[in-house]
């Protein structure tokens, strides 16, 4: 029995060694890719910012098919004349805004950075704005004002699409993107325990509308075009904040 077990262990060791040899051979064989492939990989890689604290990828905000994305559609981006609701006139500057404000990038890309060039290749590959798309993606920043109560059932649906991909499941924060991202609504409510309900709602509204531009953090803001006031109010109602 013991001898058989030893033989089995030996066989496993040989297999492991051979598997390790194969994988190290594979590792030594570099996988080549085009600049477009490079840009595509960067799009889904938090390493688009070298910051250790970054949890976001470009896709976190710009992958519209998976959730309610705060970011604009990227097809046709290299041809667009303005970004960020008209406040930016350069694509690279607009990208660097994302990297700085949401991804904690310590320095901006320049046109000489290979990553920036690869991202340009990828964005160009996406093609022009689809013919049936609405013309320039608007980005209206909304001043935080209190909202009348909405529909809690609708709020649950909107929460799942707009908040859960980053904040995780309601109350528990299950599967949230990073531990520094607060569980909603509990951690925010606890932090502002002395606030009146209306003031507390304003905290959520200001954060949803201003994101990291309202008091720091790394959250991207929801423009009115992406998240209507009615849907935002429904989320707050789902949170039982009225």
């Amino acid at each position: 029995m013991k001898a058989r077990r030893l033989a089995t262990v030996g066989l496993l060791a040989v297999l492991a060694a051979s598997s390790s040899a194969c994988s190290s051979a594979r590792e030594k064989q570099p996988v080549r890719g085009t600049a477009v492939d490079h840009g595509r990989a960067l799009f889904d890689d938090p390493k688009a910012s070298p910051s250790a604290s970054n949890a976001f990828t470009c896709g976190t905000c710009h992958r519209a098919e998976s959730h309610l994305a705060t970011g604009a559609p990227l097809a046709g981006a290299p041809q667009r004349k303005t970004f960020w609701g008209g406040q930016r006139l350069d694509l690279l500057e607009a990208i660097n805004d994302c990297r700085r404000f949401f991804m904690d990038a310590p320095r901006p890309w320049t046109t000489e950075d290979e990553d920036a060039r690869a991202m340009y290749a990828f964005l160009t590959e996406l093609g022009p704005v689809p013919a049936n798309a609405a013309a320039p993606f608007p980005f209206t920043v909304v001043a935080p004002v209190d909202l009348p109560a909405g529909d809690a059932k609708r709020g649950a649906v909107v929460f799942a699409n707009a908040c859960e991909p980053c904040h995780g499941s309601v109350h528990e924060g299950g599967a949230r993107l990073a531990t520094f991202i607060p569980r909603l609504p509990d951690e925010v409510v606890k932090k502002h325990a002395t606030f009146t309900p209306s003031k507390l709602r304003l905290v959520f509204i200001a954060k949803a509308r201003g994101g990291s531009f309202h008091g720091g953090g790394s959250m991207p803001p929801f423009s009115r075009e992406v998240l209507s006031d009615a849907d935002l109010a429904s989320i707050l109602t789902y949170f039982a904040l009225y």
Partner: protein, 385 residues
């Protein structure tokens, strides 16, 4: 391990910004501190030519407070004075912010950012020397000024002194900072090399004369009136010097005292205040000298007006009151090469945009009015070529 091919193709990120064609005649670049943009106004036509977004923050208010330019280098310098929190977003900081300010270097051909420099919170004024070698920024820190139990030095704040050539596109090292006085705001530099800075010290009722060649020289603080107490305790200033302007000859500095509602004059050679005082009715802001140095044009608030002061006697020789529709909250007067006109930048209100007025220099009647953006700050006059 992944190996990526290098990008080969047309130059990435081509510059698609519209070119800014500067008018042949006089023009102004107006920073709109409530809209994070710069307006280019053709003064000959009295018309807005372009409005270009600027700033480091694409969503929040950057508060461009003033813009100056060095046309020889082809750049402008915009000072960004951030509000302290989102609660007061919409207004540039007026001294109470804790958010660092920035200077953006903008290429004059399209106003793209080509450099940036972090300064202290509440940058007030910025000036570039005529030879383009010195850039100076005041820090209008009213929070420090109000520290009741602090020493006078603890209530004073700094000016930043920068060699513009050292400003990088990213990561520019901290500039030299000189502790000057309590709440320094208005600023003028000696011509042509900016060897001295004249600083209006709102919280200390003095004009500071700062040697920028030997930055270790003691700052000379000249009280704006003989009744000014040296090293005053914290509290509202009696005179509130807020703005200064150097005469065309460089021999005199006119000082606008916002609280005393008068303008006074500093003799540069002796570094002493002259006896000439002009009570201008309202709170004076950024005045301008006539080309011959005989008159000073003073914008005032409450009452909103343009007041003309004889610079040798202090007598009021002209006045043009403004109604709110014409010019709410006059900010500064600009004297162009054309002696037949004057320009007044009107700040407007929080809800209505500002404007640049073209006035007849003799009758002060309005010849043109060009709307700019929200809360315009101090502007750069580009003279026609």
């Amino acid at each position: 391990m992944r190996v990526w091919d290098a990008y080969v193709g047309p130059a990435p990120y081509p510059n698609r910004r519209p070119k800014l064609t500067l008018p042949e005649g006089d023009f102004v670049l107006v920073p709109n501190s409530g809209a994070d943009s710069v307006a280019l106004t053709d003064l000959a036509k009295g018309a807005l030519v372009a409005s270009v977004p600027i700033g480091r923050d694409p969503v929040g208010i950057d508060g461009p407070h003033q813009i100056v330019a060095d046309r020889a280098r082809g750049v402008a310098y915009a000072v960004l004075s951030y509000p302290g929190s989102a609660e007061n977003a919409g207004q540039h900081s007026h001294g109470a912010s804790n958010v660092p300010g920035w200077v953006q270097v903008l290429a004059l051909d399209d106003l793209r950012a080509v450099g940036e420099l972090r300064v202290d919170p509440n940058p007030g004024e910025i000036a570039v020397s005529d030879d383009g070698q010195r850039l100076v920024i005041t820090h209008f820190d009213l929070t420090a000024a109000a520290k009741a139990d602090a020493s006078i030095d603890a209530r004073r704040s700094t000016i930043a002194v920068v060699d513009p050539k050292t400003i990088e596109s990213f990561g520019t090292p901290e500039p030299d900072k000189l502790l000057v006085c309590v709440a320094p705001h208005g600023l003028a530099l000696a011509r042509p090399d900016g060897a001295k800075a004249f600083v209006a010290c709102y919280g200390e009722d003095v004009v500071a004369v700062v040697d920028l060649v030997d930055i270790h020289s003691p700052v000379v603080r000249v009280p704006v009136a003989s009744s000014v107490v040296r090293d005053p305790p914290a509290g509202p200033p009696r005179f509130g010097p807020y703005a200064v302007a150097l005469s065309p000859s460089g021999a005199r500095v006119v000082v606008s005292n916002r609280e005393a509602k008068d303008v006074r004059f500093l003799d540069v050679a002796s570094a002493k205040m002259e006896s000439v005082v002009a009570s201008v009715g309202g709170s004076p802001y950024f005045a301008a000298w006539s080309a011959d140095g005989k008159k000073v044009y003073v914008p005032t608030r409450a009452q909103d007006a343009l007041v003309v002061v004889d610079a040798s006697t202090g007598a009021i020789t002209g006045k043009r009151p403004f109604d709110a529709a014409t010019c709410a909250q006059p900010l500064e007067v600009i004297v162009p090469a054309d002696p037949s006109v004057l320009f007044v930048v009107c700040e407007g209100t929080a809800m209505s945009p500002g404007a640049v007025l073209t006035l007849d220099a003799t009758t002060f009647e309005t010849r043109a009015r060009s709307t700019v953006g929200l809360s315009p700050g101090r502007s750069f006059l580009g003279r026609g070529r």
